[in-house]
């Protein structure tokens, strides 16, 4: 065993300072300085600015931004859309991961690649495809108009666009984890007489719960924060089809910066909670070699 491969962290930090495989103190400081500067410029300053702008005219002005009917309607709509989209995508994620991770079939790799498509597509295109399908000029437009069904510029369109954009998140968290876990435990449960449902709830679910939870949190954050795709299908009807991100846009364009940043600060808190959840859950399942979001 080499002199340098001791395991405790305290030793490690000591060891690296004197190790022959590290840089001179000057280079180390330069690198840390460059990293800090870049992260301050691109992460710390924006993060601080959101709250500073929201609280520019004091706490009372901040809170009064939420007393507005349109703001409340936007918050309600965002919660409703997420409440529909997230459970559906969680169900999809579990089903897809079960089929992909526990079975071998023709076309599996293709399916894995296909699931990532929504991440590669521009949000504007994600909205556009539904307009082309359900809009007045779209394939089903005339039929929908005849039957008085509104999808575009209404809730169903917003939900569809949100689902599209957030489809992969739960599946992407679960697939590598479940592949790494293999199928022995489930097979053992079946051998011992468990039914399919018992095997799933008592063996599979406990094994994947942390990744599932993180997938759901991430999916939720993206669902509530989606802007481009929702913007295309929403029609921006105040108090009716405006989600929180769209409301932020409207307020900002009306030069109502405090109110815009106040609503934005709620979305930022959601993002921070998501990052904390990621850190906590990654520690809980630290042993797994997982793909990053």
């Amino acid at each position: 065993m080499s002199l340098f491969s001791s395991t405790t962290t305290a030793d490690k930090s000591l060891q690296w300072k004197d190790s022959i495989t590290t840089e001179s103190a000057l280079v180390r400081r330069l690198l840390i300085g460059a990293a800090s500067l870049y992260l301050t410029l691109f992460l710390l300053i924006p993060l601080t600015a959101i709250f500073a702008e929201a609280l520019k005219h004091g706490l009372a002005a901040y809170l009064s931004s939420f007393a507005d009917d349109d703001a409340l309607a936007a918050i309600r709509l965002t919660l409703l859309v997420a409440a529909i989209a997230v459970p559906l995508n969680a169900l999809f994620g579990v089903a897809a991961a079960w089929a992909i991770a526990k079975f071998d079939f023709i076309g599996k790799q293709v399916l894995i690649s296909l699931i990532d498509i929504p991440l590669a597509v521009s949000p504007v295109i994600s909205g556009l495809i539904y307009v082309m399908l359900f809009g007045a000029q779209g394939w089903l437009g005339p039929w929908l108009a005849e039957h008085d069904i509104k999808i575009i510029f209404a809730l169903p369109g917003i939900v569809l666009a949100t689902i599209f954009v957030t489809v992969p998140f739960v599946a992407r968290e679960l697939i590598p984890l479940m592949q790494a876990q293999g199928r022995e435990e489930e097979e053992a449960a079946l051998t011992l007489g468990a039914s399919g449902w018992q095997m799933f709830t008592r063996v599979t679910l406990p094994n994947i719960k942390w990744s599932l939870l993180y997938g759901v949190i991430l999916c939720n954050a993206r669902a509530m924060g989606e802007f481009g795709a929702v913007s295309v299908v929403s029609g921006h009807i105040r108090g009716l089809t405006n989600t929180m991100p769209l409301h932020v846009e409207i307020l900002y364009n009306e030069y109502n910066a405090v109110a815009a940043f106040a609503v934005a600060s709620l979305l930022t808190l959601l993002a921070i909670v998501t990052l904390i959840a990621k850190t906590v859950i990654e520690r809980k399942s630290a042993s797994h070699d997982r793909r990053k979001i």
Binding site: S24, D104, M132, G225, T268, L275
Partner: protein
């Protein structure tokens, strides 16, 4: 090996799980996406070509792809430095910094957009210091670059970091023992191992930036021919009820996205093949 669609297994639920997966995914993603391609067939080739080579469209490609590329390269440099610092050095607050790197993923793009616009406007926190130097960021193509650099930040860090973590330090020790100085060890031993991951990260940051909309439109100024990105041009065409034009540009963007996704897949495959060989 006999040709079977599925290897036999005692586990239940395969047909149900795969059936639901394919049904849901086709309904939500595949059918609507292919609808866009079919819709373009309503245009003749000449019409399609005229729309996608219109000077305003070409100017928007130049800005979108140019700013995305520069942003991805900036992130290539600083992302590598950040990954290096996070893996190799110990300093207070390291885990907070590590978590914070993912902020551009988690922060809604509209929030990022208004924030960057506020910071870089002539009286903003950073803009006020750039203004006397004659540097205008907000409402110029430079603003587009800032926004696209912001949203691409996590990719290089998150692809390079795990490779760096798994790197065997004994190889570096060996190089040093054999008389290489730190710089030689870095270039001859460390960098060749990082290349695939670094390129993957840059490609991912580029791909993400090309399609970006929300964080850009607030800071860009959105002047046609000057600071208008392609996704915004699509949006504008939609608002003017120019559905054919929007579709044609949408197809161009979609094809670019698919090609980039393919390149990223190949890079990842290269990267993991590299890893396996060790």
């Amino acid at each position: 090996m006999s040709f079977t669609l599925k290897q036999p297994s005692v586990l239940p639920g395969f047909s149900l799980a795969l059936g639901f997966t394919l049904f849901y995914f086709s309904l939500i993603v595949l059918i609507p996406l292919s609808g866009l391609f079919v819709k373009t067939s309503a245009l003749t080739w000449d019409q399609f070509w005229n729309v996608i080579t219109d000077p305003r469209a070409v100017a928007s490609y130049r800005l979108t792809f140019g700013a995305s590329l520069v942003g991805a390269l900036i992130n290539g440099v600083f992302g590598s430095i950040i990954a290096w610092v996070l893996v190799r050095y110990h300093f207070p607050g390291r885990s907070v910094v590590d978590a914070l790197v993912d902020l551009p993923f988690a922060l809604p793009t509209a929030v990022a957009g208004i924030t960057l616009a506020a910071i870089y406007s002539p009286n903003g926190w950073i803009g006020q210091y750039l203004e006397p130097l004659g540097i205008k960021v907000a409402f110029t193509p430079l603003g587009v670059l800032v926004a696209l650099t912001f949203i691409g930040l996590p990719f290089v860090v998150r692809t390079v970091q795990p490779v760096l973590q798994d790197l065997d330090r004994e190889v570096e020790e060996a190089a040093t023992t054999l008389g290489a100085n730190r710089w030689q060890t870095f270039w001859a031993v460390v960098v060749p191992e990082l290349w695939p991951a670094l390129l993957t990260g840059i490609a991912m940051a580029f791909a993400r930036a090309v399609g970006e909309y929300g964080s850009v439109i607030f800071i860009a100024g959105n002047m046609p021919m000057k600071s208008e990105i392609t996704p915004l041009l699509i949006m504008t065409k939609l608002e003017q009820y120019d559905y054919a034009g929007a579709t044609a540009l949408g197809v161009v963007m979609l094809v670019v996205s698919f090609v980039l996704a393919l390149i990223i897949n190949l890079l990842q495959w290269w990267s993991s093949a590299r890893h396996m060989n060790q």
